[in-house]
Amino acid sequence: MISSSLKPDYAIFAVPPQLIPNPPRWANYPEALTFVPFGRYTLNTLLISAVTIVGHLLSCTVVAYAFARLRAPGRDALFLVVLATMMLPYPVTMVPLYVLFRALGWINTFLPLTVPAFFGSPLYIFLLRQFFLTLPTDLEDAARIDGANTAQIIWHVILPLSRPALATVAIFTFQTSWNDFLAPLIYLQNPQNYTVTLGLQFFRTSYTTSWGYLMAAALITMLPVVIVFLLAQRLFIEGIAMTGVKG
């Protein structure tokens, strides 16, 4: 990829392939970035991703805790419903969803891309539920005997033990909304509101593709995800220490 990002288009699929571009075409980078307003699109996407992460962490933690720990009639059936909502392919709900968001007046805003996050995502509810189920109950039982309510238990007992899982949710959420294509495609109409993936699509037309630009832009737009991962994965290391202390 790096190699392709430095080539003129005609050399990208040259046979045999050139591993080191000669001469490297650095101009692909500035040209790709002026060609499409990636600064604006990056800000849009960062905003959407950040709000979505907050939404998922808030809602999924609580919902997942309930599914993992609280006993109630209908719980297991409802959990199957959580799973089942992941099983219907997106293309067939796209039109009804559009109608819904239009009725709410949300088309051409970031709301369809962010608000649903506050209502939980089946994927991360499932992920966190599985993780919570591996945690020993002793600490919680002790806390409950001491009179702690559910909120206090989640706050003081579960959360400190769950950093690796929460980090995973944050990373995945970030990456998913960063790379999301279909939803922004459908709901964002004004180019001012476009996201990075929609911007990348600008390098392709029906019959031609500007591969050099595409590669350059793809590399640059990957950077935020890599940085977020590098930062977040430190929580994994911490996870060990915390468990060691508490366990």
Partner: protein, 471 residues
């Protein structure tokens, strides 16, 4: 020092936000009976809904572009499948138009590539399409026959803003018509042609192809330029790079063999898709790959160009395709570019690829949309388009010198040899013959021993059955 700070800060934010929802959740749990089950949610929801529900209501209340306050502009939405540099002409024209028409604001909504249709279909199904939509000729019958566009005749003939349809080059209005009425007007077009790399012709001292050359000339030229330069038994320079199983381009070969893919009334494939003429075309195409071995095998059957890049690398002498990659080929140092019409078989033939604009049938601003459309595709617009694509307006093509240019003149001249397009005669091409023909082309490209006549017979039967299913 930085690291823990950063972590703690982000983690604190996380915990604080979590705490707020938890407080709501458990607070409710502790204060017993009429526990408002949805408290946390309801708060968020009502806030948002209250803010936003009014917006569509406003639109409904003032449905037509009735005279409004002086500063209330009509916002026209324009959907296009163009992207990247291709947007510059759109934006240039919009800027000019807005300057001359201060009461209208045009919002261009571009989506690159194939996902464009998924988006506009969703918008149309939800009753929310752009006022002006760009679509390709292959989509015209389906969209128009299902009522997605308005008939432009009253607008074209209007007293206030008429359009002289005599200004266009031959053949570029027809793809926008359905059952004799004009629903779309042309944006740009491309026939097919053969690119050739003069460098290779000069190196091997082969004369350049000339207008009116035949399939035999084509084959001989390709054979003369297929070379194993290092004697390792593998071909290093290829005669011709073909566009693989590209069905819509393949229609040229069928038309040039004297056949057609569908009956004139757009209903019947048997006797057409499996005719001896179609078989001749498929066999010749397959032979270029397998028998004469003048075409490199496709590296990828998905991309339009067959995924091949030999011509771009200076490793193929000829390439049959549309005008789309031409600007890149002109600046490619491996190539000294020439362009010639496709070779003549039993007949001289070519096929057109076309994109145009129409006005949505449910647009609330049809009059304003027409004012813009007339400008967009008329002489003023063509003055801008000409720098990016072939102009559709005759006078513009002549004044710019493109009609007599050694390269652009070839493309424009090919408009005189157009064969009727199968996919403009039925709304169901994409669901019927297109997949069937594609399968045949993939078969013959992959398997040299394919029985062409039998494969076409199956394809025609499949397509016909699919057609029956559509009615």
């Amino acid at each position: 020092m930085q690291r823990p700070l950063l972590q703690h800060a982000s983690f604190a934010i996380l915990l604080t936000t979590l705490a707020s929802i938890l407080a709501a959740c458990s607070g409710a749990a502790n204060s017993p009976p009429p526990a408002p089950v949805e408290r946390t949610v309801v708060v968020e929801r009502t806030v948002v809904v209250a803010q936003t529900v009014e917006v569509p209501r406003e639109v409904v209340v003032t449905p037509t572009a009735a005279p409004q306050a002086a500063d209330a502009k009509i916002v026209l939405r324009v959907g296009t499948g163009d992207s990247g540099e291709g947007l510059t002409p759109h934006l240039t024209i919009i800027e000019q138009f807005e300057k001359e028409n201060p009461d209208i604001q045009v919002q261009l909504e571009p989506v690159g590539s194939g996902d464009y249709y998924a988006r506009i279909l969703t918008q149309i199904a939800a009753g929310d399409p752009p006022d002006i939509l760009q679509i390709g000729d292959d989509a015209v019958p389906n969209f128009v026959s299902k009522g997605a566009f308005v008939d432009l005749a009253p607008f074209i003939a209007s007293n206030e803003n008429p359009l002289d349809t005599g200004i266009y080059l031959p053949g570029v209005l027809e793809p926008g018509q359905w059952e004799g009425k004009q629903y779309l007007l042309p944006k740009d077009f491309s026939p097919l042609a053969v690119y050739y790399n003069k460098k290779l012709f000069d190196q091997y001292k082969i004369p350049y192809p000339t207008d009116g050359w035949t399939w035999d000339d084509f084959l001989q030229t390709a054979q003369a330029l297929t070379k194993d330069t290092n004697g390792d038994g593998k071909t290093d320079v290829w005669g011709v790079q073909l566009p693989g199983p590209w069905t819509t381009g393949f229609e040229y070969w069928v038309a040039a063999a004297g056949g057609r893919l569908i009956s004139e009334d757009g209903t019947t494939f048997t006797g057409y898709l499996d005719s001896p003429e179609t078989a001749t075309a498929v066999q010749f195409y397959a032979d270029l790959y397998h028998k004469y071995k003048v075409a490199p095998p496709p590296a990828d059957l998905n991309a339009f160009g067959g995924g091949n890049s030999e011509f771009d690398s200076g490793k193929a002498a000829l390439r049959l395709f549309g005008r789309w990659p031409q600007s890149g080929l002109k600046t490619n140092p491996n190539i000294d570019l020439g362009v010639v019409g496709p070779p003549v078989g039993a007949k001289r033939a070519n096929v057109l690829f076309w994109g145009g604009f129409g006005i949505s049938a449910i647009s609330k601003h049809q009059d304003a949309a027409w004012r813009f459309l007339r400008y967009y595709v008329g002489a003023q617009g063509a003055e801008v388009w000409k720098d990016w694509a072939l102009p559709t307006v005759k006078s513009v093509a002549e004044a710019s010198g493109q009609a007599s240019d050694p390269i652009e003149g070839v493309w424009i001249g090919e408009l005189n040899h157009l064969a009727p397009r199968a996919y403009v005669s039925t709304p169901y091409w994409g669901a019927t013959a297109d997949p069937a023909l594609r399968k045949v082309l993939e078969q013959v490209i992959i398997d040299p021993n394919t029985d062409v006549a039998a494969a076409l017979k199956t394809a025609a039967a499949d397509a016909q059955a699919a057609m029956a299913d559509q009615q």
